[in-house]
């Protein structure tokens, strides 16, 4: 353990007397990296994000303005890869900031990844993934989330934060998760000291779920609020990112800025869950995908730039409930599909490559004849990251019940 880490832990403990035991990044056998899990809600079209631009089926099934092209005024960024060398895979032109991270060896893609279950329902697919399952069979008893099981028995100062109004299913029944959409204006209580005193006493003893949740909220929000820098007037100062990183006022920008702020409090954030919505492009996909992909890519790049000091103990994984249909519909959109694209970003990610196995887009290779097949179980990606970066190899049977690991992807190093 490094001395500065000891000091950091000591300082955090002193500042957060209400919080529990400590575990932090550099401790051998400890909690490992901070893991940021970004969920693209709605089904992100992997075939637009990392596009097989010269695949004849891709060209045939998608109108020219609904696919990424190698030519024309807005060509996609070519990606050097040995994943399917015969195919010209390109990143969506609006996602160009991701290409820089890819080329610098920090960002990797996993293509044709997802849930091997045949569902095309957003809510079934999200639910299964967040519970860490492959199918409903045998999974009915599993009600908590894969991150809940990761964190169980791993005490840390600030186990998990979601930048959504409520915690996602992946953290279900994890009692110490906090929902913090943003830190602008702080996390103070309405009603001043009197309300704080009343509420603290009001929920001090109750065993009902409301009292328990309220108690934990009061304690942990106050601890974080106390760490926010304030001006002489007591108002929370605006966050100043490092290295001139610029967050936009989009869902991605706001959420990732919040994660960066919490990370830099150095209080041992273990997991951050970020939702980016709006990927359900049934209609007018061309413009809508471009806008969202641009916001996403710029936001992720800003976050990565801002958090450079933490890169050796920070891993980001990006997932979505499914990819989208190969063939476009008459609304200039795509309907729910199957295989999608996952991403891993981190100082210890073997970036600059596309992982998995490309199944191709010929009719006979498509899932149910219509969608990109899933050749990499989403759990293979998560399990590899948990094992290599969060010291959780021994916990994997508990975190992903019924999952049998296959050949490692080699996505990330210990």
């Amino acid at each position: 353990m490094l001395r500065r880490d000891l000091m950091r832990a000591g300082a955090a403990a002193a500042l957060l007397p209400g919080l529990r035991h400590l575990a932090f990044a550099a401790e051998p056998g400890g909690a490992g990296d901070t893991l940021v899990v970004i969920f693209q809600r709605g089904g992100c079209d992997g075939l637009s994000l990392v596009a097989p631009t010269d695949d004849p089926n891709y060209v045939a099934d998608r109108a020219p303005d609904l696919r990424v092209r190698a030519d024309g005024p807005r060509p996609g960024r070519p990606l050097r890869q040995s994943f399917a060398p015969a195919v010209d895979f390109r990143l969506h032109p609006e996602a160009a900031p991701l290409a820089d991270l890819y080329e610098s060896g920090q960002l990797a893609f996993v293509h044709a990844a997802g849930l091997e279950n045949g569902t095309r329902s957003h809510f079934v697919a999200q639910d299964l993934m967040e519970r860490g399952l492959a199918g409903a069979g045998g999974g009915k008893a599993v009600t908590d989330g894969w991150l809940t099981r990761l964190l169980a028995g791993r005490p840390s100062v600030l186990p998990a934060v979601a930048t959504t109004p409520a915690i996602p299913q992946s953290l279900a029944f994890h009692a110490d998760s906090l929902a913090i959409p943003n830190l602008r204006g702080g996390l103070g209580l309405p009603g001043g000291p009197q309300a704080r005193d009343v509420l603290t006493a009001l929920y001090a003893a109750g065993g009902d779920p409301f009292s328990r949740a309220a108690r934990h909220t009061l304690r942990d929000l106050a601890a974080i609020d106390a760490r926010l820098p304030r001006g002489p007037d007591g108002k929370v100062l605006p966050y100043v990112p490092e290295r001139n990183a610029a967050y936009e006022t989009t869902e991605t920008g706001r959420a990732l800025q919040t994660v960066a702020e919490l990370l830099k409090m150095d209080i041992g954030l273990s997991v951050a869950c970020v939702d980016i919505g709006g990927w359900d492009h049934h209609e007018q996909m061309g413009g809508r995908f471009a806008t969202l992909a641009g916001q996403f890519a710029r936001g992720l790049a800003a976050f990565w730039n801002d958090t450079a000091r933490y890169h050796d103990r920070l891993t980001v994984v990006v997932m979505t409930e499914f990819g989208r249909r190969l063939r476009t519909n008459k609304s200039n959109g795509t309907d729910h599909g199957h295989g999608g694209v996952m991403m891993a970003l981190g100082g210890k990610v073997n970036g600059g490559g596309i992982y998995g196995r490309w199944p191709g887009l010929a009719s006979g290779r498509l899932d149910n004849g219509v969608d990109l097949a899933v050749t990499t179980d989403y759990r293979a990606v998560l399990a590899e990251i948990l094992a290599a970066r969060l010291n959780a190899a021994a916990l994997l049977p508990r975190i992903f019940p019924g999952y049998v690991p296959g050949r490692p992807l080699g996505l990330v190093r210990a």
């Binding site: 809600r41 709605g42 279950n117 045949g118 569902t119 095309r120 329902s121 809510f123 079934v124 409903a136 979601a162 109004p165 409520a166 915690i167 279900a172 906090l178 929902a179 913090i180 959409p181 996390l187 209580l189 309405p190 009603g191 009197q194 309300a195 005193d197 009343v198 509420l199 603290t200 006493a201 009001l202 929920y203 001090a204 003893a205 109750g206 009902d208 779920p209 409301f210 009292s211 949740a213 309220a214 934990h216 909220t217 942990d220 929000l221 919505g277 709006g278 359900d280 049934h282 209609e283 007018q284 063939r327 476009t328 519909n329 008459k330 609304s331 959109g333 309907d335 729910h336 149910n368």
Partner: protein, 520 residues
């Protein structure tokens, strides 16, 4: 401790107990109250119309291309308007600031809050809220849904206690849903599956009946070969999507040959966009070349009649009206009532009456956390406060995790407690009671002290206020927490203090934060 029956059931079948509703139930019994409530007339009574007319929402934006800066208070103007009258708000070329285009969303939401607090037809309002979540649309950021929202609210209100099959068709043809689930742009050739999928999964059969991970062909689904499949798979979704091609709105879309649809936002059916060929949905064959709208209507007939729909809708109704984990026997019996009455014009009214009069309605306590709207409306109702909705109150509710007509996914707000107990939601819900007590948002003076007897000490005052809200004496910890936090001696003669109104308001707000008032 379990609250008295009037408080208990009015926390479930109403947005909280008012003194009037409690007195009615105490005098005449719950069943009588339910019968009375289920005879709710259409529309708003004069007192509610006056309250709605008193609302002023602040609208504020900076100058832009073609418009000056605006900062003013406005009465509600869009509630009675037809979609065609509001459709100009969707015109991208018109010089209109975003807040003007979003105005109908804020106005319908303000009216919903006003009715939740003060409508005498509480059970109707609870069901309108239920159906808005069941048939969720989000108008936030979507100006077309916003323009169609007053119309959609009237559709929901017209059918909330009616027949489910008729309700489904009204929703399927509503401009708000046609925009929100993008069926308006669905065309023969490659239909848009968005509405078709959510029709099965969220509006009718439910996700438990989605068997796609088990079966790839329609004939493999158990019961299919007898014409009674147990559930649905993607083939049903594809075929249903084809059946609804051509169901659209007059949004100016091109028809070919230089012709375009009118620009009114109203429902229309475009035969040349419809996929006329034969289909098969839920193991039922559709002949090719049916008359206009017949394919879609046949799909609605099939899904409305399916046993999974009866079960799914009754699970949801019982979960809303009773608890997060309703007794399975109650759900099964309600589903039977649902199925038996499926051709009756008042099918939903009969099912709701059955659930409302069931023993489970008077049983148990604490199986559900009140949503923020239930909390704030129930607080105002219990305290007997006259509240006029303002922009500030609407903003506080929007921030609380319950943004009316602004929940982005088509599921509607979650109906289990995990969502409503997050740190973010809790922090904002605490503001709701305090804000009403202290009149932060200009919603009106809050004078619960006027409803208390004279000459009370601090202990008696907290006790009275707590009982007014919950029907129960405060738990020992609650009383002690409030007295200590407010620095009041237990026997302090508070009712003689100059700041008694404010003090009593704070006592009430803190009682409203107790677990006893937040559970139901």
């Amino acid at each position: 401790m379990i609250p008295p029956v009037d408080k208990l059931v009015l926390g479930r079948l109403a947005f909280g107990a008012s003194a009037e509703d409690s007195a009615f139930i105490q005098a005449k019994g719950l069943n009588h109250w339910v019968e009375e409530q289920l005879r709710a007339p259409a529309g708003d009574e004069p007192a509610m119309l006056a309250r709605l007319a008193a609302i002023r929402l602040r609208i504020r934006y900076g100058a832009g291309e073609g418009w000056p800066a605006v900062d003013e208070l406005r009465p509600l103007t869009t509630l009675d308007k037809d979609v065609a009258q509001l459709w100009p708000l969707t015109d991208r070329k018109a010089p209109l600031a975003g807040p003007e285009r979003q105005l109908p969303r804020r106005e319908v939401a303000a009216a919903a809050i006003q009715r939740a607090i003060h409508s005498p037809w509480q059970l109707r309002e609870v069901l309108v809220d239920f159906w808005h979540n069941h048939f969720n649309v989000s108008a936030v950021g979507d100006h077309a849904v916003a323009a169609a929202l007053p119309d959609y609210d009237r559709t929901i209100r017209a059918h909330a206690l009616g027949n489910f099959r008729e309700f489904l068709e009204a929703v399927a043809g509503s401009p708000a849903m046609l925009v929100y689930l993008s069926n308006r742009s669905s065309r023969a050739g490659s239909a848009n599956e968005n509405y078709g999928r959510e029709l099965f999964e969220l509006h009718t059969l439910g996700r438990a009946a989605y068997l796609n991970d088990l079966y790839n062909r329609w004939r493999e689904v158990p019961g299919a070969l007898k014409g009674r499949p147990e559930g649905y798979i993607d083939e049903d979704v594809y075929e249903a999507a084809r059946a609804f091609t051509g169901w659209t709105i007059e949004d100016g879309a091109g028809l070919g040959g230089g012709q375009t649809l009118p620009v009114t936002g109203r429902f229309t059916y475009v035969e040349i966009w419809h996929d006329n060929y034969q289909k098969r949905v839920l193991a039922t064959d559709f002949d090719p070349f049916q008359p206009p709208l017949a394919d879609g209507r046949k799909v609605l007939d099939l899904v409305a009649a399916h046993p999974a729909t009866a079960h799914f809708l009754c699970v949801k109704l019982c979960r809303r009206l009773v608890s997060d984990t309703p007794p399975p026997a109650l759900v099964a019996e309600a589903a039977q009532v649902w199925a038996e009455n499926r051709r009756k014009p008042d099918q939903i009214r009969r099912v709701v009456a059955f659930i409302a009069k069931s023993p489970a309605m008077r049983d148990g306590f604490g199986g559900k956390v009140k949503r923020p709207l239930e909390l704030l409306a129930g607080y105002a109702r219990g305290a007997g406060a006259e509240v006029t909705v303002t922009s500030g109150l609407l903003g506080a509710l929007d921030a609380s995790g319950q943004r009316l007509f602004g929940w982005a996914p088509p599921t509607g707000h979650p109906d289990d407690q995990a969502y409503w107990l997050s740190s973010h939601v809790l922090r904002h819900r605490w503001a709701l009671a305090l804000g009403l007590s202290d009149n932060w948002w200009g919603t009106g003076p809050f004078d619960i002290a006027a409803r208390l007897p004279d000459a009370l000490d601090a202990t008696e005052a907290v006790g009275r206020v707590h009982a007014m809200l919950t029907g129960l004496p405060p738990a020992g910890g609650t009383l002690a927490a409030i007295l200590a936090g407010m620095r009041l001696a237990p026997d302090a003669p508070v009712s003689r203090r100059g700041d008694y109104v404010r003090l009593a308001g704070r006592m009430a707000a803190y009682c409203a934060m107790s677990p006893a008032f937040n559970l139901r």
